[in-house]
């Protein structure tokens, strides 16, 4: 069987030093991603999902572990090779206005992306910008606009166009719709989905919004304090979550009820997310877990294989 694994992440960890203290951002994360698929990374503050996204692109250097993209170990690449490889792995940010240069027109920003990677000529780049803008659903005049003249939804489409201009294989989407209005969110999500099908893109989709992640993802990894606590194909995760944290997350989603009788009870979880500066010993979730045992407090659980593609890091999972 042909191995179409695009990305392999093995035991990756990252710790930051903040004013002398250690901040554990990502701890021993592993996963593989096949070409054309979408991996969803879900978590709340301190989960490390954004950091993980940046580690995959080597915008940050991992302290431990290996990241292999398209067969190449990212850590071993020389500067120039890394820069060339960047063409194949791109990122879309949560706040598109922050990631665009306020002094550059949007069209120049997209052209610059191609210029940096030495794609085409000035003329061909200009034409490509028109193609891309049309593809993401923006009128051509937008190319002369500065970021502050566009709305959030339009800016996000620009960000997508810029990423696409390099013809990448992988795109990390870091909370791409969280800052947008609901009605615009759907438009952008659909655009991302259509583009994936058209160009056979691979996505890592980072979000705290479980419903949106489920919509786009083939597989989902749930992160808590830098660790993957559960990982499974999207439908399996929602149908039978095995980790207590995953269950709590699912319970916290407030759906619009179909009928008044189905209004949800507000069931809060106890406690607060611990600070990544001082994570609990044993299982990171034990202080808030209703099922915690002594073992949970003392011993960090391993990733148990619950079914073929379903892993859960919990002593009590079966």
């Amino acid at each position: 069987m042909p191995d179409n694994r695009l990305l392999e992440v093995e035991n990756v960890s990252k710790t930051f030093r903040v004013q002398g203290k250690k901040l554990r951002a990502v701890e021993n994360v592993s996963f593989t991603l096949e070409a054309g698929k979408t991996l969803g990374l879900v978590g709340e503050s301190g989960s490390g999902k954004s950091t993980l996204g940046r580690l995959v692109l080597r915008l940050l250097d991992a302290d431990q572990g290996r990241i292999v993209f398209g067969g190449k170990d990212l850590a071993k690449l020389k500067k120039n090779d890394l820069r060339a490889l960047r063409r194949e792995m791109q990122i879309i940010f949560q706040d598109p206005s922050a990631s665009l240069n306020p002094r550059m027109t949007v069209g120049s920003a997209i052209e610059d992306a191609m210029a940096i990677q030495r794609i085409g000529t000035k003329e061909s780049r200009r034409r490509r910008v028109s193609e891309l803008l049309e593809r993401v659903g923006l009128p051509d005049e937008v190319r002369h606009a500065y970021p502050h003249e566009l709305s959030g939804g339009q800016l996000q489409r620009v960000g997508i166009a810029r990423a696409l201009s390099l013809d990448p294989k992988l795109i990390v989407c870091d909370e791409p719709v969280s800052a947008l209005d609901v009605s615009i969110q759907v438009q952008v999500i659909q655009l991302l989905r259509d583009l994936q099908q058209e160009f056979n893109l691979t996505y890592i989709f980072i979000s705290h919004n479980l419903a949106v992640v489920e919509y786009l993802s083939d597989e989902i990894a749930v992160l808590y304090l830098g660790e993957v606590v559960e990982q499974a194909p999207a439908d399996e995760l929602f149908a039978s979550p095995k980790h207590p944290y995953t269950r709590v997350l699912l319970q916290s989603i407030l759906k619009v009820p179909d009928r008044p009788e189905k209004r949800q009870k507000l069931v809060p979880i106890q406690g607060e997310i611990p600070s990544p500066l001082d994570p609990p010993g044993g299982c990171a979730f034990h202080p808030r877990c209703p099922f915690a045992t002594d073992k949970c407090r003392a011993v960090k659980p391993e990733r148990k294989r619950v079914s073929e593609r379903h892993l859960a890091a919990c002593h009590l999972a079966e």
């Binding site: 503050s45 209005d181 759907v186 419903a211 759906k255 009928r259």
Partner: protein, 328 residues
């Protein structure tokens, strides 16, 4: 309804920008009575926050109220002198905002901030205020109140800070709590905690709550009544259960249909085409007409009035009946 707690009538608010004016609120009227929870739902630019904030006198500098009244127990808040308004706000009306980090004083201990709310409104003497503060911190679920009294805002997490803000808002036992996107900036599990807390407080104290949110899930699960706003106008106003049974406005329906929810994988979701525009002139016709699939010529010419559609259910749409029958 007996005398409403807060009654807003025909409110119009405009903002001056360097080159033009933004018509943020264009004729909004609603009321909230005792022991009611009202949710005002809309996207950015709908005017939902501006409506609420301006009615209690918290309008940005470049904004002006060009018409309307906002009566709290019969007294028009917009016509009061600043001192009188400050008395009411804080004592009879509590306010919580979206971002606790910018609403709390970073250089003042949180305990003192809560006490200050009581002292400036002459609600209690120092000693009693101190005791009450500890009680409040306890009620808000902040562990170890005695020692945490002396902490500063930056020493707390986002969820904790929001609880502190709620404590300040409720310090003088107001009858009405106004919440502007109180959980938007919070993690989803924290949001659940804060909403559960608010629900508990509301039930225990018999408060009325007006909550502005863009999250339909939050509004429909937490509030008794819902108002949907767009383009500075109310599109639909109804008791929540009526709203859930029969959504009568194309915008509300469109919003409901465009929310991605768990279990929708693979199903087509219908986005509302286009995007909201900022109104820079006197609005003509229905602000939603340009994006509405039910729109006819009449809609762009004549703004639909908010009319009674069914019991406890008002809609501002010429084609509400069509919408409801289609939804079925």
């Amino acid at each position: 309804m007996s005398e409403p707690l807060l009654a807003i009538d025909n409110l119009h608010v405009r903002f001056s920008r360097s080159e033009d004016e933004v018509y943020a609120v264009n004729g909004v009227s609603f009321a909230i009575g005792e022991n009611e929870t009202l949710g005002i739902v809309g996207e950015s630019g709908s005017g939902k926050s501006v409506t609420l904030m301006s009615s209690i006198g918290l309008l940005r500098e470049n904004g002006k109220i060009t018409a309307g009244t906002a009566k709290f127990r019969g007294r028009d808040l917009l016509r009061l002198r600043p001192k009188q308004l400050e008395d009411i706000r804080g004592r009879d009306i509590g306010v919580i905002f979206q971002d606790p980090m910018t609403s709390l004083n970073p250089v003042m201990r949180i305990g003192d901030q809560i006490m200050e709310a009581m002292l400036t409104h002459h609600y209690a003497g120092r000693k009693e205020a101190f005791e009450r503060t500890l009680q409040l911190l306890n009620e808000m679920g902040i562990p170890d109140p005695k020692s945490r009294f002396r902490n500063y805002p930056h020493e707390f997490s986002g969820g904790m800070r929001q609880r502190i803000m709620i404590a300040i808002a409720l310090a003088c036992e107001p009858q009405l709590l106004i919440a502007d996107e109180p959980t938007t900036a919070l993690d989803v599990t924290v949001q659940m905690q804060i909403l559960a807390l608010l629900q508990e407080l509301r039930d225990r104290r018999g408060m009325s709550v007006v909550m502005v949110t863009h999250d339909f899930g939050v509004a429909t699960n937490f509030c008794d009544r819902i108002i949907v706003m767009y383009g500075g106008r109310i599109m639909e106003a109804a008791r929540t259960d009526r709203f859930l049974r029969a959504t009568a406005h194309p915008y509300s329906l469109g919003l409901k249909r465009s929310i991605i929810e768990v279990g929708h994988k693979g199903k087509p979701i219908v986005p509302i085409p286009g995007a909201a525009r900022t109104l820079t002139g006197e609005p003509v016709g229905c602000p939603f007409a340009e994006r509405c699939s039910f729109a006819t010529e009449r809609c762009s010419a004549e703004a639909p009035a908010l009319r009674a559609f069914a019991e406890d259910h008002e809609v501002a749409c010429h084609h509400a009946e069509e919408v409801v029958s289609l939804a079925r």
